[in-house]
């Protein structure tokens, strides 16, 4: 392999890392909810989208009200505004759509989740229109060279923030009382309730935390690609869910691993599948590649790479 090839490989790996960080952040939302409720919250992708669009609107507002503010400050404030909005949204969704169906047959909340997803997409379409909005470049966009690969400030920020948030979440879940309560609820809801855990509160908090992470992920995606629109959550949510399953649904470490892995597979797959198959499959099979790997992993190891962790259903 020539030096150029190595550079290209490094670039693809870095791209995959950035992509994977975003997937991981969103996958955590899916996996946490599945862990405590056994429910796939299809609406989570849309919460991410609302986070991105809210940040877009707040950013625009700030530019009008306080024109002199430096870019990084604007995007920080916009994110800080988007997080509570998404937290509230996640809380409302759980209370209105999922809590009444908590003891209903599994299919009911699943369909409801899909319904909420569609509802949110259309609400976003009504508020922000159907056009693609360009997300302003708040951070410098000039790339800098790292061993022959190009990186931008946005990408570095994405990885750093994602790692920080995931570390924070791990700390929360494994080292605090709240985290212990969450783990207990995830293990066995009724027993945890008997032990004095407020199940409803814990579940709400799970949704709130997941949505907060989703909001940050939404802003990162919008900043990275420079576009935000009402439909951006759908495919992202689907892939993040895939990542969560790949790593082991319900397992936080699994979500992180699955996300990073999926990002890498997509990036390397799209880059090299053409060469590997001699041109039979092109780079438009990028998604096929990712889902194919998912199928293989699930067939060989059905509980995902790091093992499933779901609530025991009495």
């Amino acid at each position: 392999m020539s030096a150029m090839d190595l550079e290209i490989l490094l670039q693809q790996v870095l791209n995959g890392l950035v992509l994977g960080s975003v997937y991981s952040l969103v996958a955590l939302g899916y996996t946490m909810v599945y862990g405590v409720l056994g429910l796939i919250n299809f609406a989570h992708g849309e919460v991410v989208m609302i986070g991105a669009l809210t940040a877009l609107s707040v950013g625009r507002l700030l530019e009008i009200l306080l024109p002199g503010l430096p870019g990084p400050v604007v995007i920080l404030l916009a994110t800080l505004a988007a997080v509570p909005v998404c937290m509230a949204l996640g809380f409302v969704i759980e209370r209105v759509a999922y809590r009444p169906l908590r003891y209903a047959p599994r299919l009911a909340p699943l369909i409801t989740a899909i319904g909420v997803s569609i509802l949110l997409q259309h609400i976003a379409m009504l508020i922000w229109g159907r056009n693609y909005h360009s997300f302003p470049q708040y951070l410098p966009s000039e790339p800098f060279n790292v061993l022959g690969a190009s990186l931008t400030v946005v990408q570095v920020v994405i990885v750093v923030v994602a790692v920080a948030m995931m570390a924070g979440l791990m700390l929360l879940v494994h080292r605090t009382r709240l985290g212990r309560a969450m783990r207990a609820t995830a293990e066995n809801q009724s027993i945890a309730g008997l032990m004095g855990v407020d199940i409803n509160a814990i579940i709400s908090i799970t949704f709130i935390i997941g949505s907060a992470l989703g909001a940050v992920a939404g802003v990162m995606v919008a900043a990275n690609y420079g576009v935000a629109h009402y439909y951006m959550g759908f495919v992202l949510g689907l892939k993040a869910f895939t990542a969560a399953v790949l790593g082991g649904i319900g397992n936080l470490g699994g979500a992180v691993l699955g996300g990073l892995l999926l990002g890498m597979i997509e990036s390397l797959g799209a880059g090299y599948v053409g060469d590997l198959t001699g041109g039979v499959l092109g780079s438009n099979y990028q998604d096929v590649f990712a889902f194919f790997v998912l199928i293989v992993v699930l067939v060989l190891r059905p509980s995902g790479l790091m093992g499933e962790r779901v609530a025991e259903r009495a």
Binding site: Y132, S141, P143, G271
Partner: protein
């Protein structure tokens, strides 16, 4: 005693309401039939318009629909007479989501509604499957933006388009890249839609014929936003130019990502990427971009007041194809006038004989349904604006007449003269 008073009051109130209601209804028919002579009977027709109104190119779909809508409103306002009756166009605007499956469902819906003509669709990928349905039903279809050659090669008597097609566009782009930009190696990406793939194939053919090497042929999907993997691979091949066959919603992020990856080479696209929206999405990565449009630049079109009227009516800039959807409606109505009938079976024979002076220029069709003398305009982007580099093809330029004159010119298609008056009528009505 009380009850009868209540009854009387109620009756009086109802009578008052009834009279008031009557009073309100009278003014409505007035705008059309003010004068003493019996008003001409109305001839109501439905013209269907199909474009993606949701999804990532909704802004282009809306642009097309607005153009058609403006035409319908202006024609309704000025009063075109066909067979002794005043024409009233009802525009049925439908959304096909740029999806071929939805496109055929919508086409069937329009066929079932027995529309008198169709302007659409926007994407080649939806226009081509839908054209079969319209052909089977004998409903004339004029597309204002589908450039894929296959559309008119199917041999349908109902299929027409009012701008140049991708055989011409691809040739112009490929030759421009090699001869004017001096590119010896080109990387080509397309979005695997009928349009993107078709145009990319034509560009590849033309570039190879002109002597360049195609060092990469990559693909994406028409809703993807992450192109880093493909662009990284292309970066490794070091091309002199990168061509993207697809729409602005992706070309924009693609340009951005090229910059992020440090892929410093010329970036080109076809008409799908040649819009103001591209500049918005690409940000500062739009500088130095080359693209083409199938048609004349807006400020060289025959009717220079179009952009103004459009802006006034819709409070939006022309994106790209609204002048063509506007003209498509005009062509349909013009054929109806010459046949003196709105029945598709009767006026379809008039379409091949069309010689219509539209906003975009003189429209005549060849035997396949393509426009004669279609022009391709090459643009570059400098200073966040699309600048015309060159116009290739097109009818010999008509003497540049100021907008007012263009309206008054006494020509056979009467559609022209009233157009200049129509905006005034519109303004008066408002």
């Amino acid at each position: 005693m009380n009850r009868s008073r209540v009854a009387i009051v109620t009756l009086a109130a109802l009578a008052a309401l009834g009279l008031a209601g009557c009073g309100k209804e009278e003014p409505k028919p007035a705008p059309k039939e003010q004068a003493a002579p019996p008003p001409p009977p109305e001839l109501s027709i439905k013209i269907g318009h199909v474009a993606p109104l949701t999804g990532n190119i909704a802004h282009l779909g809306k642009d097309n629909e607005n153009g058609a809508r403006l035409a319908a409103e202006e024609i309704n306002a000025k009063g075109v007479m066909i067979d002794g009756k005043k024409l009233k166009i009802e525009l049925m605007g439908e959304d096909d989501q740029a999806d071929p499956k939805t496109g055929t469902v919508v086409a069937q819906k329009l066929v079932d509604a027995k529309v008198n003509g169709v302007v659409g669709h926007l994407n080649s990928g939806t226009t081509i499957p839908a054209s079969k349905l319209y052909s089977d039903a004998g409903i004339p279809q004029i597309s204002p933006s589908a450039t894929n050659p296959t559309y008119t090669q199917q041999g349908f008597k109902t299929a027409y388009r009012v701008m140049a097609n991708d055989v011409q566009q691809g040739k112009v782009l490929g030759e421009f890249a090699v001869h004017k930009l001096g590119a010896k190696s080109i990387a080509i990406i397309d979005d695997r839609t009928a349009y993107g793939q078709g145009l990319a194939d034509e560009v590849e053919k033309a570039a190879k014929a002109a002597g360049a090497k195609v060092v990469a042929r990559e693909f994406t999907k028409n809703d993807a936003t992450d192109f880093k993997a493909i662009l990284t691979k292309i970066k490794g091949r070091r091309p002199d130019a990168v061509f993207y066959g697809g729409m602005d919603a992706q070309a924009g992020p693609m340009a951005k990502q090229m910059k992020q990856l440090g892929l410093k080479t010329r970036f080109m696209s076809g008409d799908g990427g040649c819009t103001p929206e591209f500049i918005k999405l690409a940000g500062d990565a739009a500088e130095g971009f080359y693209c083409s449009q199938a048609g004349l630049p807006l400020d060289r079109m025959a009717d220079k007041t179009f952009a103004e009227r459009f802006k006034k009516r819709f409070n939006a800039e022309v994106q790209i194809y609204s002048p063509y959807s506007y003209d498509a409606v005009g062509v349909l109505v013009d054929a109806m006038k010459r046949a003196n009938s709105v029945d598709p079976a009767k006026y379809i024979a008039e379409l091949p004989k069309t010689s219509y002076k539209g906003v975009s220029g003189n429209i005549e069709f060849d035997d396949k349904g393509d426009i004669k003398n279609g022009a391709i305009t090459l643009y570059d982007i400098k200073g966040d604006k699309l600048n015309v580099i060159e116009v290739i093809g097109g009818a010999p330029a008509a003497p540049a007449a100021p907008a007012a004159d263009a309206g008054k010119a006494a020509e056979a298609p009467k559609a022209d003269a009233p157009k200049a008056e129509a905006p005034k009528a519109e303004a008066a009505k408002k």
